[in-house]
């Protein structure tokens, strides 16, 4: 079902323009603010950075601030945030790297579970199509292969685009991706053997730039030891700021608060972080995670151990943002390495 098309550089903007014309396109641009993406009106607006974008794209399906509903006791009205869908018109999220696309797939596990579907996330997700770009130049901080992802991973994408020297290879990954490409009405040449060979070479080159950060072979066994002594040392550098959780494309903990004024108000969902003391503070005043040791342990376990037990997958895509932005250079790669090498 997957189809490989070729689009030459001179035609690529036309392809993008067709998408922009038919759908609502969102992607990384020069000035994304704190969202991580902008509504794209013209093809030139899309700015693909080397490696991962500054922000992850989780804000798209899981906004940092989301009004669940607003209410007015006086008029006894409740207004649930509701977006109308136009048939055949989608939201397109373009410009994700394979790690970020995988992250969306991982978040789907959390939010789009049959019995407990999060309607806000699911609604948005069902009418969004994802177009990712394979990585030609991983950053020094990328470690996707160490966690089972790759510069050309297709998981989570509807369409994946390979950037060659003078042309692009557009590969449809899902049925929805196929429909999206067909829907542009544009004629695409099929990719030739030469095209494919060049693509393979680029990916081989890209993968050779990635160094193996750690091996997950013995990770499950090691993490089974909840009371291991190394947690005391691992957490020492951490200042508990929460940057790692905010930049992580799979971190999804949230808080729900009611913001009221008189008889009116709104119920708001906001991002939360396991690194903050309030996260597990009980009403009694007791905090089962009183220090950064328990919180760092929680973070690592959630990402690498509990998620394995719950979903059979690890909640880390190796994007490296936590490594880049940590103010004290607490390197997750070194942490996992230390754990796997511990006696």
């Amino acid at each position: 079902m997957a189809r490989d098309c070729v689009v030459h550089n001179k035609d690529f903007d036309r392809f993008l323009a067709l998408l922009i014309e038919k759908h609502s396109v969102f992607g990384p641009s020069d000035n994304d603010g704190s969202n991580g993406f902008t509504r794209i009106e013209t093809p030139e607006q899309i700015k693909l950075h080397r490696g991962v974008a500054h922000f992850s794209f989780k804000n798209f399906f899981f906004p940092q601030t989301e009004v669940l509903f607003s209410f007015d006791l006086a008029s006894k009205k409740i207004d649930a945030a509701n977006k109308e869908t136009e048939d055949g018109k989608y939201d397109i999220l373009i410009g994700l790297r394979p790690c970020d696309a995988l992250a969306v797939d991982l978040l789907d596990q959390v939010f789009v579970v049959p019995d407990t579907k999060d309607v806000y996330y699911a609604e948005r997700r069902s009418k969004t199509r994802i177009i990712s770009f394979a990585c030609n130049e991983p950053c020094a901080t990328c470690f996707c292969e160490s966690v089972g992802c790759a510069p050309d991973s297709e998981v989570g994408a509807d369409v994946i685009i390979y950037v060659l020297k003078d042309r692009y290879i557009i590969r449809t990954v899902s049925q929805a991706g196929e429909e999206l490409i067909n829907g542009t009405g544009m004629h695409f040449d099929a990719a030739s053997e030469k095209d494919r060979a060049e693509k393979e070479q680029m990916m081989t080159d890209a993968k050779s730039q990635l160094t193996r950060a750690f091996s997950v072979d013995e990770l499950d066994d090691k993490l089974a030891n909840f009371d291991a002594s190394y947690w005391k040392q691992i957490c020492q550098k951490c200042i508990g700021c929460g940057i790692c959780t905010y930049f992580c494309p799979t971190c999804h903990c949230f808080d729900i608060t009611d913001d009221t004024e008189g008889s009116q108000g709104r119920r708001i969902r906001t991002w939360d972080s396991c690194m903050y003391p309030l996260f597990t503070l009980h009403a009694s005043g007791h905090n089962p995670r009183p220090t950064k040791k328990e919180r760092m342990r929680q973070r690592i376990m959630h990402k690498f151990s509990y998620s394995m037990q719950q979903y059979g997958r690890r909640l880390c895509v190796g994007c490296g943002r936590c490594v880049v932005h940590c103010p004290v250079n607490l390197d997750l790669r070194a942490v996992i390495r230390e754990i796997t090498e511990a006696k």
């Binding site: 704190s34 969202n35 009004v67 913001d259 004024e261 709104r266």
Partner: protein
């Protein structure tokens, strides 16, 4: 919020933090003596002006008022001896900072009013209210109902 009151001229909402022993008593005296003054203030009684954490002033602005007045005993006359001296230092810094980031200085004001100064209390309220009335509503510090970071 204020949209419904478009037809009427703007009347500022001002929160007045008054210390229990001097300024609140001064306000009380003004009331008992039937001195008329602008009805724009909402009073919050505190034991001493030194009790005021800058947090409360910002919270007041966030909650939708157009100005804040903090009033205590005259220096040297504090019921708790030195509370207002500490307050004076804090006030200076709060005032400097809010003015620096672009909030009109007339919106946040501080005064010393004693329990015997009923007339003066009324005058100060009128003065502060008219200064804030001229500035119009404070919109840019108010709690949002939907605007996110760009």
């Amino acid at each position: 919020m204020n949209e419904e009151n478009r037809a009427q001229p703007f009347e500022p909402k001002i929160i007045a933090f008054l210390c229990n022993w001097c300024s609140y008593a001064g306000a009380d005296l003004a009331g008992v003596s039937r001195f008329q003054y602008s009805t724009n203030i909402r009073v919050i009684k505190v034991p001493c002006s030194g009790r005021i954490n800058p947090l409360y002033i910002i919270k007041a602005l966030y909650s939708g008022v157009d100005g804040v007045l903090v009033s205590g005993c005259h220096p040297g006359d504090c019921h708790y001896i030195s509370g207002n001296y500490f307050a004076r230092r804090k006030f200076a810094l709060v005032k400097r900072f809010l003015e620096y980031i672009g909030i009109e200085p007339e919106r946040i004001q501080f005064s010393w009013v004693s329990a015997a100064e009923g007339v003066r209390f009324a005058q100060i309220i009128d003065k502060v209210t008219s200064e804030i009335r001229k500035l119009g509503p404070l919109t840019y510090f108010r709690r949002d109902t939907g605007q996110k970071g760009t």
